[in-house]
Amino acid sequence: MTTATPTVGAGVQATTKTSRAARVRRRLNSRAATLVSIVIALLWTVPTFGLFISSFRPEDQIKTTGWWTFFTDPQFTMENYQEVLFSSSSSAGQLASYFINSLAITIPSVLFPIAFAALAAYALAWINFKGRDWLYIAIFSLQIVPLQMALVPLLKFFSTGVTIAGLQVLPAWELDGAQKFAQVWFAHTCFALPFAVYLLHNFISQLPRDLMEAARVDGATHPKIFRTIVLPLITPALAAFGIFQFLWVWNDLLVALIFAGGTKETAPLTVRLAEMAGTRGNEWQRLTSGAFVSIVVPLIVFLSLQRYFVRGLLAGSVKG
């Protein structure tokens, strides 16, 4: 800052020379700018806010008056949450069960692709072997394959196994109940890998070459370099991808719908909520509180780790 003082001084002089009209216009401009940005900010927050307020209002109130009447006639209850989470009546939501399903689906679906992609990205960046570049390009370009392309055969793979020319090569998985989580983990891991490898490769390949070579000269093997040098250095990248994948899996509907089914035993929150929105579209006391039950976890993760998330976003963002 100190070295730049002369130029700043010149800048101040130049601005004082501009006419008063220009200054007035600039002020009007900035006032209009503030107004527009406030309008946009309101458009982006009021819908969520309305839902949030509503989730704490008694059922008869939600169904007969708008949420804005809360400010003139505040009535507060936690009953909606109680009911939608813990009531055993099958029409109520039973979201506590689905919440556990969401957790059980999400945690392994985040861990597996992180670990596999980190290993693969290291090999693609720092181990010399034939065809390395082609392999990287192949994995990279798999990002553009929409997951819709894989759904039908993958489901068949789980349910009937693999037969080649009438010969059973791999048996069906025959999972039931909570075991079905394994299918969902498998599917999410497959679909996440191309992007994960791409993102982590971006970070790993930019580690200083000297560091790697020094370690090699000291006689460290690849697994050792990976564990002791690379992993600690790429923690921010792992966090960035972890948040991505967490939000993606927790918020996913399509993959869960197909591979987890729709029952209380395995389906995550999103599947249950989408179903409730379809069949009980007017039960706003349940939908409002239910929506917030599903939103609260990603919101906490997001707000506490926003820094990593933004960094990951900027590092390259074409989700396959």
Binding site: A14, T15, V36, A41, W44, P47, T48, L51, S54, I62, T64, T65, G66, S88, A96, I100, N101, L103, A104, P108, L111, A115, F116, A117, L119, A120, Y122, A123, L142, P146, Q148, M149, A150, V152, P153, L154, A178, F186, T189, C190, H222, P223, N251, D252, L253, L254, I258, E265, L273, A277, W284, L287, T288, A291, L299, V301, Q306, L313, V318, K319
Partner: protein, 349 residues
């Protein structure tokens, strides 16, 4: 209030198995890679020692086998990608040329069906509207907001407000907006914000989501609402990366904010702009959750991804579903080629 925790135990057990499997696979792989080379190294040393003591000629030391390491590092990723993505994608392509039992070849019949069945043509038109509008509007909002709040007071807070919907699931966002669009009869008090505004302006309340083609646009609003935050963050970072001396020089020349935007800001952030538009376009092509939650594809709002799900998993038509999936893939390709060409130009230029 009788939530039975015992009923949930199998889930935790399964989750535990999953975590054990994770530790076993990843830990096992690393251990294997650590132990096996060490064992080989020891054996080589022993042989070397034996050779030295017996006075036999020294064996030439072989170069360590890098390729084998690479194979093991890459093994899980390649396995999952081939089983879960490559082979299924090829199979889907084949299925799209087969009938609904996936036994007989039917040539291009499924693709003919895509473009002749009126309800599917409607689906394709809807998808076109989505993919034209969402990237444009979301990017515009994101850009305007990024420019407006740049260096304003409370910038971080202002940005979080727009960014927050990114953390909300499409399902959650659809419920939030369904509530905005909620309808009550004319004689009742409105509970939806949109109808309340219409009524207070003297209009009659409407069942917004039943009216085609208006309902498609109202669903598009939801997608724009989610994606604008992404556009804003990326573009805001690009704006901040514009060299300060360029901005300062322009300011000294006395350009208006308007000129500044079109002649300095826009050209500088062009690459980021393209990335944003491309990313949102691809996300929009694959949109499924919003349509499924808000209207379930009824009232002429269905889009390709939704129809693909219905055909393949609800109506038992894997052939037609696969054709839709392949068509979706084909739609993505030109967008990606455009982006790759742009990236290459940037690198050369």
């Amino acid at each position: 209030m009788e939530f039975d925790f015992a009923e949930e135990q199998p889930k935790f057990l399964m989750l535990m198995y999953g975590l054990i499997a994770f530790v076993a696979v990843v830990g096992g792989l690393l251990l294997l890679l650590d132990v096996v080379p060490a064992w080989f190294a020891r054996r080589r040393d022993a042989r070397l020692l034996a050779a030295v003591t017996s006075g036999a000629p020294l064996l030439r030391r072989r170069k360590p086998r890098e390729g084998l390491f690479a194979l093991f590092f890459l093994l899980p990723t390649l396995l999952f990608l081939v089983v879960g993505l490559v082979v299924p994608a090829i199979r889907t392509t084949l299925l799209s040329f087969m009938d609904k039992d996936s036994t007989n070849w039917v040539g291009l019949r499924n693709y003919g069906w895509l473009f002749s069945e009126p309800s599917i043509v409607r689906v394709l038109t809807n998808t076109l509207i989505w993919v034209l509008l969402v990237p444009l509007v979301a990017t515009a909002f994101g850009l305007i907001y990024a420019v407006l709040v740049d260096r304003a007071r409370l910038e971080a807070l202002a940005k979080s407000l727009i960014f927050l919907p990114m953390a909300i699931s499409f399902v959650g966002a659809s419920i939030i907006w369904k509530f905005v669009y909620a309808y009550r009869g004319e004689d009742q008090e409105q509970i939806g914000l949109l109808n309340q505004i219409v009524v207070s302006l003297g209009g009659a309340p409407k069942q917004w989501l039943l009216d085609s083609p208006l309902n498609t646009f109202l669903l598009i609003v939801i997608m724009v609402w989610i994606q604008a935050g992404f556009a804003m963050v990326v573009l805001s970072a690009a704006i901040k990366a514009i060299p300060a001396d360029i901005v300062e020089a322009a300011r000294l020349d006395g350009v208006t904010p308007w000129q500044m935007f079109w002649q300095i800001t826009m050209p500088s952030i062009r690459p980021a702009l393209i990335v944003v538009v491309v990313t949102i376009s691809i996300a929009t092509l694959k949109v499924f959750d919003i349509v499924r939650t808000a209207t379930n594809g009824n009232y002429e709002t269905s889009v390709i991804a939704n129809e693909m799900y219905n055909q393949a998993f609800r109506y038992g038509q894997p052939g037609q579903g696969s054709a839709l999936a392949v068509f979706l893939f084909i739609l993505v390709i030109p967008i990606v080629i455009y982006q790759i060409r742009n990236l290459r130009q940037q690198r050369e230029g």
